[in-house]
Symmetry: C2
Subunit: 141 residues, 2 copies
């Protein structure tokens, strides 16, 4: 049984593409002292308002143990608040704080520029097609 050429292996292709896109963005985030995971978590939270930890973990594509640590970090930086759900004592409710919103608002324009440049080179239509195809992959679950 011949293995699929690594060139056409989907997981590696996804990883390489992600690295290409993230590499310049990561430099921006680094200049603002955020890791890309912290950025992801904060963005998703900001977009959705109030969320419990499980939702957030799933949406931001972060595992629960990682989220625990990321939250601890972001809480210490006053980027978000963390409180136990009164209706269900197991759940943790999270919400972005002004400092977190402020970070997003200052980083977003810089990231946008990079993303726009990428999209221009790649082609807006192709980018849209790619996003649709990726969305369909996730739907397979």
């Amino acid at each position: 049984m011949q293995p699929i050429k690594t060139d056409r292996a989907l997981p590696l292709a996804l990883l390489r593409a992600r690295e290409t896109v993230m590499s310049p963005i990561r430099k921006v985030l680094q200049a603002h002292d955020v890791t890309d995971q912290q950025w992801r978590v904060l963005r998703v939270l900001h977009e959705n308002g109030l969320m419990d930890a499980k939702e957030l973990a799933k949406s931001a594509c972060v595992l629960a143990p990682s989220l625990t640590r990321i939250i601890k970090h972001l809480e210490q930086s006053n980027m978000l608040t963390r409180r136990v759900d009164v209706k269900d004592g197991r759940r943790i409710l999270l919400q972005a704080l002004p400092l977190g919103t402020q970070l997003i608002e200052s980083v977003t324009p810089e990231v946008q520029v990079i993303y726009q440049g990428l999209s221009d080179k790649y082609g807006a239509q192709k980018m849209s097609d790619l996003l649709d195809l990726l969305h369909d992959v996730v739907e397979l679950n």
Copy 2:
């Protein structure tokens, strides 16, 4: 400046798609006591024969420090050999050993089944289109 909805953010979309695909594959790898990074490194090395560490790191999408540790691990398991390049004393030459090849040959069929099932559900043509689009993203560099 409104941030792009996280739904249409390329890095997160790539990550989510990768998680969807890797999740079942990871279980197979786990049953054979290999991490997916070790698997990636070993596969690329097996495919290309003799490689130096830098090439391997780039192809397998692994950073140099990670590769150093992965190699150490795979070397102790007799999966590959490691030797200094005679022509350039800085370079490390790597090659798969029979035990490594054997691992690949025993894991590949199981992974293939998963991948095939995925491809059937997703559509072979779409899969091919997706791989092409991903390849083009990497070409942007």
